[in-house]
């Protein structure tokens, strides 16, 4: 048991470069596999949480733009959503990486100030950016759908009370949109977390063997030729993550539905959505 504690100290933060530098090479123990894969999960959480957070704002903007009556606002939003929802995330990662690699190594010179570019090819920035755009597109479509299914009566009632313009949006449309779209958005959040496993498998290299959970699971499977241990471990981790996300989003959902009678509250149902 004490050796396992030692392993946790050595490899618990290995994925962010803290602790033992060399990965275990032979005589793998279950403790090592659980610790390292768990340490890789930090990256999945990092990508998932930040992409989801920033994506939420862009998604709202995009959903509104898509619902706009002005063509020059609507068209770009429609195209953005179509491009990111219509092509595989895998290809988007590759494309982003190849584009970012083409930026001049030395940095771009703007008005005498050199802007460094090399950090954009690193996974923590480049992949996060792609995930951010990707989840924005998917969530925007969800919010757009929700925006269109706001009951007509709610809007008419607001107008009858003299609530118009920005006030109507802030107090009626936006909360209702969130409430209606929330169950679908929960699924989007879960599958965004699942999608973060693609990062180190496409384009973005893992420097110094600092990768995500799947990177380490794959490392162990490659080294031991035994997929029956590492993959179930990572599966357990992700099931736990899914439960946590469902719980957090369920709490928010409760709050969004707090004014409704019991039988009208929307419930979150888990729907699989697989690859994007």
């Amino acid at each position: 048991m004490s050796s396992c504690w030692q392993t946790i100290q050595d490899y618990g933060l290995r994925s962010i470069g803290i602790g033992e530098n060399l990965l275990p090479k032979k005589d793998f123990t279950l403790c090592q596999e659980v610790t390292l894969i768990g340490s890789g999960l930090l990256w999945n959480i990092y990508f998932g949480v930040l992409a989801l957070f920033f994506g939420f704002f862009l998604a709202n903007a995009l959903a509104l733009a898509k619902a706009s009556r002005r063509t020059w606002v609507r068209k770009p939003a429609e195209w953005f959503i179509f491009v990111f929802r219509g092509s595989p995330l895998f290809i988007q990662f590759f494309l982003a990486y190849e584009t970012l690699v083409l930026l001049p190594r030395a940095g771009i010179d703007i008005l005498g100030i050199t802007i460094a570019t090399s950090w954009t090819t690193k996974a923590w920035a480049g992949a996060l950016f792609v995930l951010f755009l990707n989840t924005s597109a998917y969530s925007a479509e969800i919010f757009f759908g929700a925006l269109r299914s706001i009951p007509k009566g709610d809007l008419e009632a607001a107008e009858a009370y003299g609530i118009t313009g920005w006030n109507k949006f802030r107090r009626i449309e936006w909360p209702t949109m969130l409430r209606l779209g929330w169950p679908a958005y929960t699924n989007e959040a879960i599958f965004l977390f699942h999608a973060t496993t693609l990062v180190f498998f496409s384009g973005f290299p893992a420097f110094g063997q600092q990768g995500d959970a799947l990177y380490y699971a794959n490392y162990f499977a490659d080294k031991t030729f035994n997929p029956f241990v590492p993959y179930p471990i990572i599966a357990m981790y992700f099931i736990a993550m899914t439960l946590i996300i469902t719980w957090v989003f369920g709490q928010i959902n409760k709050r969004l539905n707090r004014h409704l009678p019991q039988n009208m509250k929307s419930r979150i149902r888990l729907r699989p959505q697989l690859v994007r």
Partner: protein, 293 residues
């Protein structure tokens, strides 16, 4: 391909481009698009069969069969798909070799999972070490298709199970009242009516399947992603057609390919959904009836 391409270094401009785009490697590249299409064409029906089996099992009256079906459906929830892809290919490969090992290897062979390696006797290798590279490629492709079918089968099972539940109960009860047996109700009433409920889910799955095809690359099949990286990488003067790093353009090409695929599917599925809604007791069917009358 063309006679003028014999010496690529001496030609320029459009001729060079024409020669470049028809080089042997590029023909392989174009062929890999066909491989993706074949994968889609094989996987979709296979996943439907798996899914149908899973959904039917989940509805079974026999408890263990029902648990098996429900377990299969539940498998895909909560775990990233890519983990299944990574897992199944190795697990299948080892499983097949293990079974063959039991049959062909001499008695007293060691247990295959030995510490850091998986070892079976030479006769139990699949495919045999002496077989042609083509056999290896075919086997890899077969494993990939099978993995896709299992994973997507679980998703399809989920959709079909939901669709079977969505068929109005009264329809089935009416059929039973007419004296139809369980099998007859299933075949004549449930199956024909469930498609309209299944279609939105199935079309969603089809889109996802299209977008999952680049994962073939991870499964070790020489697919479009493999060739795009291979061909796009910068080529020095040693090569027949030297060029700088063009991977960006190749990946843009792939992106366009996928966008076109999605767009065409969207239009086609829209038509299909209109066709299936005809005469159905749903809102869409009712709207069509009104429009027609």
């Amino acid at each position: 391909m063309f006679a003028s391409c014999a010496d690529p270094k001496s030609i320029e401009g459009l001729t060079w481009l024409a020669c470049y785009l028809t080089s042997g490697k590029h023909l392989d590249f174009y062929w890999s698009f066909v491989i993706v299409l074949i994968l889609l064409a094989v996987t979709a029906p296979a996943a439907m069969i798996f899914g149908f089996g899973g959904a039917t099992m989940a509805r079974s009256h026999v408890a263990p069969v029902r648990w098996l079906g429900k377990g299969y459906i539940a498998m895909v929830r909560g775990i990233p798909d890519i983990i299944f892809f990574m897992f199944f290919v190795i697990a299948l490969d080892q499983g097949i070799e293990y079974v063959k090992n039991l049959m062909v290897c001499p008695a007293g062979s060691p247990w295959p999972w030995q510490g850091l390696e998986f070892k079976v006797c030479a006769a139990a290798k699949v495919p045999l070490a002496t077989s042609s590279p083509l056999t290896f490629q075919m086997y890899g492709f077969f494993l990939a298709v099978f993995t896709f079918a299992i994973v997507f089968g679980a998703f399809t099972a989920n959709v079909l199970y939901g669709a079977m539940q969505a068929v109005p109960r009264a329809q089935l009860e009416t059929a039973e009242a007419y004296g139809m047996s369980h099998g007859q109700v299933f075949r004549r009433i449930l199956i024909p009516q469930m498609w309209v409920y299944a279609l939105p889910g199935l079309s969603n799955l089809w889109m996802i399947l299209i977008k999952a095809t680049p994962l073939l690359f991870l499964l070790g099949v020489k697919d479009i992603v493999y060739y795009a990286r291979e061909l796009g990488g910068s080529k020095t003067q040693v090569f027949e057609y030297p060029h700088p790093d063009w991977r960006l353009y190749y990946f843009l090409g792939l992106m366009v390919f996928y966008l076109v695929m999605t767009r065409v599917s969207e239009i086609f599925l829209k038509r299909l959904s209109n066709r299936l809604s005809k005469g159905q007791a749903t809102a869409a069917g009712e709207a069509m009836r009104r429009a027609g009358a």
